[in-house]
């Protein structure tokens, strides 16, 4: 077994998704494609050789919007105001610039069309990124079991891919939950996800769903514990922690 090395990725397109987050599409020569849910490491090098590495989930599956000949991958980076790497990727990296990428990484937090069980995805903030890839893979897979997404976010302005996730033709069924500010006429008030919310808004244990939880570490811990209390088995829950508290 050889270590997968670093590949060059050239920023092909970029667009802001929210005031703090930016979608970045890279073309990567020899990119082997990826499964939905995997991530890459990005390495940045300063002129004096100093390097920083961070992990980012892939919002794309397969070869992204590209092809086997011209593979692409998509990331979404949310800016942490005091961060070292994310402000650079969100505010500074320009189309045509090159970064180093390693991956695809992770073979556990993945959804493939071969999975036949119903799927419940639960995202906190930018934790929705790997689920966008799963929703895209799901849309391309005929006859796959139902996929639901519960997306917890601060306010309506913080939504990534609202149109894609809430389109009537979307193959994933998305429920939105707001923790700080809700849209006009929204039936619920803003607040953190509670066990009651999870009981109401997610597939019940009796449906034996496969559950994926992704977001800041604290969010993942709280939600995973609540799902176990709702009767789901440990083995049915897969988690990805982005860091932070």
């Amino acid at each position: 077994m050889s270590s997968p090395g670093w590949r060059s990725g050239v920023l092909a397109r970029a667009r802001p998704l929210t005031p703090t987050a930016r979608s970045l599409v890279f073309t990567v020569e020899d990119w082997p494609g990826n499964e939905a849910g995997q991530h890459v490491d990005i390495r940045l090098t300063a002129p004096d050789g100093y390097q920083a590495v961070r992990s980012y989930s892939l919002a794309s599956a397969g070869f992204g919007a590209g092809s086997a000949d011209q593979p692409e991958l998509e990331l979404v980076v949310d800016r942490l105001p005091d961060g070292e790497v994310s402000p650079f990727l969100v505010d500074e990296l320009e189309v045509g610039d090159t970064v180093e990428l390693r991956g695809p990484l992770g073979r556990w937090f993945v959804w493939t069309p071969q999975q036949t069980r119903p799927v419940q995805l639960i995202a906190g903030g930018s934790g929705v990124v790997p689920f966008v890839a799963m929703a895209r893979a799901h849309a391309g897979a005929e006859g796959a079991a139902p996929m639901r997404l519960l997306y917890s976010l601060r306010s309506p302005a913080d939504a990534f891919y609202r149109d894609e996730l809430s389109s009537p033709t979307a193959s994933v069924d998305t429920t939105w939950h707001y923790t700080r500010a809700v849209p006009a006429e929204w039936p619920r008030s803003a607040g953190r996800l509670t066990a009651d919310d999870l009981a109401r808004e997610t597939l019940p244990a009796s449906a034996r769903p496969l559950i994926f939880i992704c977001g800041p570490t604290g969010f993942v811990e709280t939600v995973a514990r609540a799902m176990i209390e709702l009767g789901h088995a440990d083995d049915d829950i897969r988690t990805e922690r982005f860091g932070g508290i």
Binding site: A46, Y50, D97, I237, R238, T239, R241
Partner: protein
Amino acid sequence: MAVFGGRRREENPDLPPGQHLTDGFPVLSAGPTPRIDEEDWAFVIQTETGVTHRWSWAELLALPSEDITVDIHCVTSWSKLGTGWRGVSLDTLFADVETSLEFVMVHSYGGYTTNLPLEEILDGKAWVVYEFDGESLDPEHGGPARLLVPHLYFWKSAKWVRGIVMQDDDEPGFWEENGYHLHGDPWREERYA
């Protein structure tokens, strides 16, 4: 072209390549955090002859313990220097274990596994620890007890440890089957297979 400045951190000879320092204690695990009562807890070592050595929680605490101060390195690229632990050396636990096999599979509550060569956990290289920073170990960080193998990436330091089974070959454990390196030496950057 955008030029990455980076936040110049001090050159630190204790940091393996590609690692950065953290003051926090991030959590990385594949699933939810299992909660295990100390009364239900036990640690076993099982050999090829089927012999099982078993310690209850009280028996573990009664064994000679050591204070360990070590640097830890997570594969997701954070390192924490000078962390303080308390626990029992695997040399103590293996004192009466007879085996001719050279590899182990470590098992955890919650189903996690990780593989190691036996020689990498003996001779003062690994412990079953139950205190961090003078406090009992939080479930998030592997409590009631976890393995501590500080010279390898931290996924080898299995949280919620429940036992060790001797094995013939270096069969991969959980993360090792899911793309991580079979061995995991941070100084050689053995991150991914």
